[in-house]
């Protein structure tokens, strides 16, 4: 009885075990173990060339792994060709069949499986993606957003155990992308199928996915819920790839209970033991990180008003840009040359202009510690390359 329940509960799990892909001497995906629970919206996030698409294609069967296995539920599908796997893909740039109309594109999978009466199902599916009117048009007559929805409908109609999405929103403009993110999330909730979504857009991954795996150079750097990844990055790559982080290289002064006391530029900073992922030996180096929006900015004249117990550093405003909901400051500080601070637009202090001396302070709880042996700018460059 228990086994039956287990099968039902885990029937849509995707389990990758030691999966590896090598092209000659280049390793695109290092041995990777990954379980995507049934019904979840899972995102593989990373810059181009990090191995995320290769991983997805190995699940689809379009790429043969060099080593390792792919399980769907209890079934080992590693040796199955793509047309025998209960998995469907929404391709980057959609790959709709240009010679077939929308109806036939959506019906393609059903017809291949020998289902005769497809009309009702196709019409229902086109309703779900709000394209009922377009059934007899050819793909090139539709807009990008509509084509995207056809691609989703064409895959979903087969009720796959897993739906794979390869950068499905990459070709859409920003506004449409936002709209489609919500749309896809709605569809996923409605049909309850496991979605594995590949993207290089961290915002997209965080908005849509329950679980995000951040990939870098063929490895999963960190895996967790969007909030967990954002708040507790374990590497500088994750800290920089998901949003912006400020780093201070600090020396461990002492460890007292649940707090680590760090020394940086003559001042002392506190770091909760629980939020430190680096080895903290006294005298050792730690990278102290803090997100720009966690920091408060006070003019140096009012430094006395800052409550006790907060981490504080001093600096001078180098640059500020007002963007409505917040003002983004770049602070020149002895401990960090370009400290970024986002101040929410509640009460604006008119003295906070470039050149002003300020004190930056934040709740020590919002500090995280990373191994100082890594590149502070990991992940930053990659993001810029992607934009370029």
């Amino acid at each position: 009885m228990k086994t039956t329940n287990d099968t039902a509960a885990h029937g849509g799990d995707v389990r990758l075990t030691g999966i590896t892909k090598k092209y000659g001497s280049f390793t695109a995906v290092h041995p990777l173990d990954l379980t995507v629970p049934q019904g979840s919206f899972f995102a593989l996030l990373g810059a181009s060339g990090c191995g995320k698409t290769t991983t997805l294609r190995m699940i689809a069967g379009l790429e043969e792994p060099t080593a390792g296995t792919v399980h769907l539920g209890d079934q080992d599908v590693t040796a199955l060709p793509p047309y025998k796997r209960p998995v469907n893909t929404v391709f980057q740039s959609y790959a709709l069949f240009p010679h077939l109309d929308i109806f036939e594109n959506v019906a393609f999978g059903l017809r291949r499986r020998g289902i005769k009466s497809v009309k009702k199902q196709v019409e229902e599916m086109l309703e779900l993606v709000q394209l009922g009117e377009q059934a007899r048009k050819k793909p090139h007559q539709l807009s990008g957003g509509q084509q995207q929805r056809v691609a989703v409908a064409r895959a979903l109609i087969n009720h796959p155990k897993v739906l794979l999405l390869d950068e499905p929103l990459g070709a859409l403009d920003l506004k449409l992308r936002r709209q489609m993110q919500l749309e896809l999330k709605r569809i996923q909730t409605e049909v309850g199928i496991t979605f594995v979504h590949v993207t290089h857009d961290q915002e997209e991954a965080m908005t849509m996915a329950d679980t995000v795996a951040v990939m870098n150079a063929g490895r999963v750097e960190q895996l967790g819920s969007p909030a967990d990844l954002y708040e507790n990055p374990r590497t500088t790559f994750v800290a920089n790839f998901l949003g912006t982080s400020n780093f201070i290289e600090a020396e461990v002064d002492s460890t007292s209970g649940s707090e680590i006391v760090l020394k940086a530029g003559g001042g002392k900073l506190m770091l909760p033991e629980a939020r430190n992922s680096a080895p903290a030996r006294t005298g050792g180096k730690v990278l102290l990180g803090v997100r720009p929006e966690k920091i408060s900015l006070t003019h140096a004249d009012d430094a006395g008003d800052i409550p006790e117990g907060r981490n504080r550093i001093t600096g001078r405003i180098a640059d500020s840009s007002f963007i409505g909901v917040s003002t983004q400051y770049v602070i020149d500080s002895p401990v960090c040359p370009e400290f970024e601070v986002y101040v929410q637009n509640i009460d604006r202090d008119p003295r906070l202009t470039p050149g002003a001396e300020v004190v930056l302070h934040w709740n020590p709880e919002h500090t995280f510690g990373l191994d100082a042996a890594q590149d502070i700018d990991a992940g930053v460059e990659t993001v810029e390359e992607e934009v370029a």
Binding site: G61, Y83, A95, F97, H99, N158
Partner: protein, 309 residues
Amino acid sequence: MAAVTEAPPLAPTPAPQKKPPRKRGRWMPYLLLLPGLLWLVVFFALPVIYQASTSVQTGSLEEGYQVTWHFATYWEALSEYWPQFLRSVLYAASATVLCLLLGYPLAYLIAFRAGRWRNLIMILVIAPFFTSFLIRTLAWKTILADGGPVVGALDALHVLDVTSWLGWTAGDRVLATPMAVVCGLTYNFLPFMILPLYTSLERIDPRLHEAANDLYAKPSTTFRKVTFPLSMPGVVSGTLLTFIPATGDYVNADLLGSTETRMVGNVIQSQFLRILDYPTAAALSFILMAAILIMVTLYIRKSGTEDLV
């Protein structure tokens, strides 16, 4: 330009504001068309008119020909030479089918599987063009020579028994039979099939194959439902480029065939150059042109290529 656009207020006749007088821009397309148009008039339209007038002339070489609107020439030509017409269409159609059967796999290979060999294979396809058409056809005379290795092998494999029974070859001979002519036609026109096929296959996004695969289509189904329909423009232009010139060809029938395999091209050639019966030759040419035009139109209608991208 700007000055012209601002002119209307001063002009005596108020020009409508919506249409700025952009004379040069309006005439430019026609100007660009002119060289091609001239070429067409001088080398196509005028000869066709001349030919048309020749076809309705009567007379003899000694007394000269006059236009007498003698349309009976058409009927006479058709009733006398219909077997050659039929043979032309039959041979050309067989050669076209053979070209398609031989050319499609090769074009597919070059487009999808050749990898770094692609250019080399393409060069090999085009390489025969570096030799004269005539020499290449003559080479087939040697290849299919009586008692030669090819004929010997076909004989030993009893292939010739079958083809002789079908009337394609005669006894232990291949040369001077319909099969030899069709072989020559197929060989000579094969590149005209392969190149358009390759072009249209190469344009197919390989991701469409993956998408079909992903949607439960086996490789054979993928070919039937995706690759082949998408290569239809290539199939249509390839068959036309093979069929049309093959129908009018006379070199292959002349060099590889016999009097029993004469095609309409051979008839026209001998009427023009040997018998010097210009009206009959012109009428035959017109009938051939009309027949090809009708067949091609029907074919294009049926294959529905205008619907494809």
